[in-house]
């Protein structure tokens, strides 16, 4: 059995990577870090598959918003009691009035207990589910990057007896000690149920890892020459922080953000399962799935279709996140290449 023996590569600091990049440029083989990342990412077939699925689901979500919200081709709220619980690919019965007929007179994913077109509801839910995930992660990114950046950059400054760094990081520790799902459940149960509250609560309870990553990166970056150069140029500190340090600290954040979107979508479906999810009339994949479980014997498609959709999209986010992590890891990149 042959063992792949790799040369011992020292941990590449971000600065070293940049230095190597400068060398490469001098040799006339310019490759931006983004392009190098893309090259490494493209080699991972699973991650590429995930990326395609992800892009497809984004398109579906936008189309869904368009076709169910603005230019109503598929009406997710139309109730057709004569056609309730029809299996997928069945035709609309003749009892349905002209204005309620689904496009082409077919229900591609069947109908639910009120005779609503499951395909239309899934289309509407795609936008809501994805936006819950993306907005929640957006909120957590804003909080996490701010807290981590401030702690890493202004760390030594004193506020009375304690430094900014230890104040912010102890605060992060406090939030980390809360049982997350339990806290989400408590707050969501107490707040008036709305889709925005769910986004905000998931966002507020998931920024801690981002803050830690950003702080660690900023601590390392602060010692780099280009930051000294920026300081010497007389740039204001906020500009150094937001224009020079944070963009360079985003790589690990990107990975965790992608995986956090997957988490947020799953959390939303778990909340729906417990009855605290997004309320009707909004359809999300989570609450279609949670409602469908009562019909698991009579109308299994009500349960299987949203479940499979969540599985595929969350899997795509996870695969892309892991692919990014591998592509960003300089050690692994060498080994693969």
């Amino acid at each position: 059995m042959s063992i792949p023996v790799e040369p011992v590569t020292p941990e590449l600091a971000p600065g070293a990577a940049r230095a190597a990049h400068a060398d490469a440029e001098a040799l006339g083989m310019a490759e931006t870090p983004a392009r190098a990342l893309w090259r490494a990412f493209r080699r991972d077939r699973l991650a590429m598959l995930g990326l395609y699925v992800l892009l497809a689901s984004l398109v579906v979500a936008l189309l869904g918003k368009l076709l169910t919200g603005f230019w109503v081709v598929f009406d997710p709220a139309a109730v057709r009691l004569p056609d309730k619980l029809l299996p997928p690919l069945s035709a609309a019965s003749s009892a349905i009035g002209k204005d309620l007929l689904p496009p082409f007179h077919y229900y591609p994913f069947g109908t639910d207990e009120l005779g609503r077109n499951v395909f239309a509801r899934m289309l509407q839910g795609a936008f809501v589910s994805l936006s819950v995930g993306i907005v929640a992660v957006g909120i957590s990114l804003v909080i996490g990057v701010t807290v981590g950046g401030l702690a890493g950059f202004y760390g030594q400054r004193k506020l009375g007896p304690i430094s900014v760094d230890s104040l912010l990081m102890r605060f992060t520790d406090v939030v980390l000690c809360f049982p997350t799902f339990f806290l989400i459940l408590t707050v969501v149960a107490l707040l008036p149920p709305s889709i925005y509250n769910i986004m905000i609560v998931i966002g507020i309870t998931s920024w801690m890892s981002t803050a830690r990553f950003v702080r660690a990166e900023c601590l390392a970056l602060r010692e780099q020459d280009f930051i000294t150069a920026a300081t010497a140029l007389g740039l204001p500190p906020w500009r150094i922080l937001f224009r020079h340090m944070i963009p360079n600290a985003m790589a690990p954040v990107l990975v965790s953000a992608t995986i956090n979107v997957a988490h947020a979508i799953l959390t939303e479906s778990a909340l729906s399962f417990l009855g605290f999810g997004v309320r009707p009339p909004y359809a999300t994949w989570g609450n279609i799935l949670a409602d469908g479980r009562s019909y698991i014997f009579d109308a299994p498609w009500l349960f299987l279709i949203p479940g499979a959709a969540i599985l595929v999209v969350v899997l795509a986010f996870n695969l892309v996140g892991e692919g990014l992590r591998d592509a960003l890891n300089p050690k692994l990149r060498k080994r693969v290449g």
């Binding site: 107490l190 778990a270 479980r293």
Partner: protein, 320 residues
Amino acid sequence: MWRFIARTIVQRLLLLVVISIVSHTVIHLAPGEPSAVDTMNPMMKAEDVVRIRKAFHLDEPIYLQYVHWLKDLCTGELKSFRDGLPVVPRIWERFLNSLPLFLCTSVIVWTASFPIGIQAALKRGSRYDRGATLLAYGLISVPGFFLSYLLILWVVHTFHLPVIGLRTFGTEGESGFRRLMDRLWHLAIPSSMAALTGIAVLSRYVRAQMLEVLGQDYVRTARAKGLDEDQVVYGHALRNALLPFVTMFGLLLPGLISGSVIFEQIFAWPGLGLLGYEAILTRDFPMILTLNFIAAALTLLGILVSDILYALVDPRIRLE
């Protein structure tokens, strides 16, 4: 080392007080008081609401309510809003129900993940490895209750396993052994369902960690001096790969409360997670706060345990 432990314990206790204050504030500032649960009840008059608020100290300022809660918790007099029963014995009783499920799940996760992860690392890039990887991602990405429902249907049809509750009704008079077997029989499905995600996550970690170690110089040296493959993999590589997992033992602890809400709900398992869920539904503030407090305490305890374990296992670490 002892000084480190003493200092951390003091710090953690302070942190715990801060956490309890924060969670108390969050819960009391959020809209929806316990007195507002039953507003539609025509028998509920305005003076009843006032009476209820007074009985539960809800009419006092928040900091006084916190003092009341802390005092009651320390003297063991803390009563639930819902039924007036003491909170702590109730939690203890539910804890005893949750514990077997938690232990059984953890044992399954830890015994299954290592062989799967090690095999995947040794056969890196093979069909087995890629299959295991895809399966693991699938398990991480599927909503827990979706998979459980599907598997319940299959399992009940095929193996006739019970999927509801702690024990079969009417077995109280049976012999101790039969009761034990009945309990284990009821544990089988909930614990293996709850373990699936854990196996997926942990086996990925094991694989990554093994790959990291297998690339080290000392593994090459071990191979070069002609040791047989098992000795290299299990004696040299695995022992070093195990280090980070020691810390994960401590971090398991908080899962006792928060990790189980969904599964206890699916399988009607009267444990801590379900207790918390019911408390949230009825806005039973003392119960929610105490559970939150215990969960935070468990998290802090878990971090401490993992720090100490790490220092015990890895001689390079000095706790200062």
